[in-house]
């Protein structure tokens, strides 16, 4: 049947000078033959044809954030290619339109609007920083689009137009602090972060939880993005002698922070202090250098070294597509989930319509996720396990703990706000 359809379309395109009536008649025939007509699965005028569907990829490939966002773009392209190889979504191949946010928030908003209004894409996979998400959010809500957002973030948000495939702050933080308290006998914490909303909000949640458990925060400190001199804070840490250094430093500052920490003689491979981070994935370690962060612990939901069949397949497919040198971090994996979650929701809804996909999304499960099993919560975040990894000199994490159950996403935690 597909062949017949192709044949008709082929002839149509070759003989586009046909008279209007004849063309219309043939179109009707073609529609009647196709299994699911484009009009049935798409009542709102999205860019869906008989055998393709357009989606958008919106990340920074230039500017300061390109460092972080490259992995997400690669993961999303891989997922789309794999879905297409399996026959696409509702029998339609996914075509992606990639736009560059240029590390500039208004550009993100502008490009999001272009994708939704001009290109009429059925879904957008993209954004990385909270600032870019906040900038595009009104656009997605106004023009009713669907955004799959991959980064772990501060929570305090829940939009009907966004599926958050990364962890929100409580998922990432609570289990990690419980773990250091129990396993490492930690009593005091030094909170440290880059100066913007995610580290500040995360540390706030961490502080509440630490104090609730009867432990103590001995210092809390923020440095401007891109700061490269941490010797003073390292001295303060030495003076206060915390059991745990809780670090949420991002970007280039990370490299400086860990190199200087090591140079100052704080040996993370020793019993105390424990360094726990929620911001350093394998991606960042490449810049920091494995030998400089050896012995640190990270709390997130995915490590490249996870030992399960899904992950092995994912890692080898990723390396085949993007080269052996590549490493895969938490966000990259979360970005990979986006297209798959969307596919599952579209197929459950039997339609590309945004409203139907949104209704179908809660309860969607993926058993093939590299991180294991995930499920979409009513609040559009994912149920997922939280894991603790120990940084190795080769730049990989070794899994030392994972929560027994899936952590419930709770973007508006009671009493932590």
């Amino acid at each position: 049947m597909r062949r017949l359809k192709d044949l008709i379309e082929h002839r149509l395109s070759r003989r586009s000078v046909l008279t209007g009536t004849a063309a219309a008649a043939m179109l009707v025939t073609a529609g009647a033959i196709a299994p699911v007509h484009a009009d049935d699965v798409n009542t709102t005028g999205l860019a869906v044809t008989e055998d393709t569907v357009k989606v958008g990829i919106l990340h920074s490939v230039t500017g300061t954030m390109a460092i972080s966002e490259t992995g997400s773009v690669q993961a999303e392209k891989l997922a789309i290619e794999q879905i297409n190889a399996m026959g696409g979504v509702l029998g339609r191949k996914i075509e992606y339109i990639q736009e560059d946010g240029g590390s500039d928030w208004p550009t993100f908003a502008e490009k999001a609007k272009k994708l939704l209004v001009s290109d009429k894409v059925a879904a957008v996979f993209g954004c990385w920083t909270s600032a870019s998400r906040k900038a595009v959010l009104p656009v997605f809500e106004q023009y009713n689009g669907m955004l799959y957002y991959p980064t772990f973030y501060e929570g305090l948000e829940q939009s009907p137009n966004v599926i958050y495939t990364g962890q929100e702050a409580t998922q990432q933080i609570l289990a990690g602090i419980d773990w250091v308290a129990k396993e490492k006998g930690a009593k005091s914490f030094y909170l440290l972060g880059s100066d913007y909303i995610w580290p500040r909000t995360s540390n706030k949640i961490a502080r509440k939880h630490i104090e609730k458990l009867g432990m103590k925060v001995v210092g809390e400190e923020y440095y401007p993005l891109g700061h490269t001199q941490f010797n003073s804070v390292i001295n303060k840490i030495k003076l206060k002698k915390p059991d745990v250094i809780y670090a949420i430093v991002v970007g280039g500052s990370n490299v400086a922070f860990y190199k200087q920490l090591k140079a100052a003689g704080i040996d993370m491979t020793k019993e105390k202090p424990v360094l726990l981070t929620i911001s350093v994935t394998e991606d960042e370690i490449r810049g920091i250098g494995g030998e400089n962060i050896e012995g640190a612990y990270a709390a997130m939901k995915y490590f490249q070294s996870l030992d399960n069949e899904n992950n092995k397949e994912f890692v080898s497919a990723f390396k085949e597509m993007w080269g052996d040198e590549i490493v895969i971090g938490d966000v990259t994996q979360a970005a990979y989930l986006g297209p798959w979650l969307w596919k599952a929701a579209v197929e459950k809804a039997g339609s590309f319509d945004i409203d139907k996909v949104r209704l179908a999304s809660p309860g969607i499960e993926l058993t093939t996720a590299p991180e294991g099993y995930v499920r979409v919560h009513e609040n559009h975040h994912l149920w997922s396990k939280t894991r603790i990894g120990l940084a190795k000199p080769d730049g990989q994490y070794e899994l030392v703990y994972e929560t027994a159950d899936l952590m419930e996403p709770d973007p508006f935690p009671e009493g932590y706000q």
């Binding site: 390109a66 490269t228 030495k238 190199k259 810049g287």
Partner: protein, 308 residues
């Protein structure tokens, strides 16, 4: 905040903090020296200074990969070769830039600012195309990592000492080059009176090119040294620009000694404030103080007493 600690602890911490300030001082001097030569001696605003530093860092990165792969026996000492190579690569690019770009703009300092900003964008994108958008990790020989424990609390970071020694060596070399050698004398002569210098037979074009190349070369060495303490990525160079310019301007543009003095003042202020305040506020206060002082004393700390 100090009530809970013993005197020994406090003493040690202040010693450590003083040392941290000294490291910051060395870092600032390294950053600013190249710029001070170019800006102070030539009046050219080189907005691509940070990118020349990152060029040095990438050269170091390539060296470390090369040595690790082909001559692992030399890995312990490759860093010295890398720095020398970084000096020459950055210097050569500097000479090329001077020849193709800067020499047309000597009468228009504000335009050098725009042109070198354009150059910095091009260099950034070139790094991104060649080395990728991600930061690269430079593997260092083991002896450069870690620290020397003096007491229980006082530990001296080895890379900090290395940066300090390097700064000292470069500062002394620059001193001899600028004030004790024939080249330096010519260079200073050109600064003081270009026309007269040309009239007495100094090849001013050549002097300009050498001065610019020297400034860029020092930036390259600085970048190479910073792989020990900072990050190496396409846009990392931009982080240094504001700090560096403020240091040079604060010191008094035409004075190398001023640059060193202002590095010292700013680094000590920043490192002390960082200890007592939170990081962001310390930075804001330091910059505000510098800007405030510059508004009151626009010629900077040390002004050249030359009749123009």
């Amino acid at each position: 905040m100090f009530a809970d600690y013993s005197w020994t602890e406090l003493g040690s911490i202040f010693a450590m903090q003083g040392f941290a300030g000294l490291i910051l001082f060395s870092v600032f001097v390294l950053m600013a020296l190249g710029l001070a030569i170019i800006f102070g001696q030539m009046g050219v605003i080189n907005m691509a200074h940070g990118e020349f530093m990152i060029l040095g860092a990438y050269v170091t990165y390539l060296c470390s990969n090369f040595v690790e792969a082909f001559v692992p026996a030399l890995f312990g000492v490759y860093f010295f070769f890398a720095m020398i190579l970084a000096f020459f690569v950055a210097g050569a690019l500097g000479a090329l830039v001077e020849w193709s770009l800067i020499r047309h703009l000597y009468r228009r300092p504000l335009d050098t600012l725009l042109a070198t900003w354009g150059l910095s964008l091009i260099l950034q994108q070139a790094y991104r195309s060649i080395f990728g958008a991600r930061e690269v990790g430079v593997t260092l020989p083991d002896w450069l990592l870690g620290s020397v424990p003096l007491t229980d609390i006082i530990e001296i970071p080895i890379n900090g000492i290395f940066v300090m020694v390097l700064t000292l060596v470069i500062a002394i070399s620059v001193y001899f080059l600028m004030f004790r050698s024939r080249t330096g004398m010519q260079s200073r002569a050109v600064v003081q009176n270009r026309v007269m210098a040309g009239a007495v037979g100094i090849n001013t074009e050549k002097v300009d090119r050498m001065t610019f190349a020297l400034g860029c070369g020092i930036a390259g060495v600085a970048g190479s040294a910073f792989t020990m303490i900072g990050s190496t990525g396409p846009t990392a160079g931009q982080l240094y620009i504001v700090d560096t310019f403020l240091i040079v301007v604060f010191g008094g543009a035409a004075s190398l000694l001023g640059t060193i003095a202002s590095s010292f003042a700013i680094s000590q202020a920043q490192s002390t404030m960082e200890f007592f305040l939170s990081g962001s506020m310390a930075k804001v206060l330091t910059l505000l103080t510098v800007v405030g002082i510059l508004m009151l004393r626009p010629e900077g700390l040390f002004s050249a007493k030359i009749r123009r």
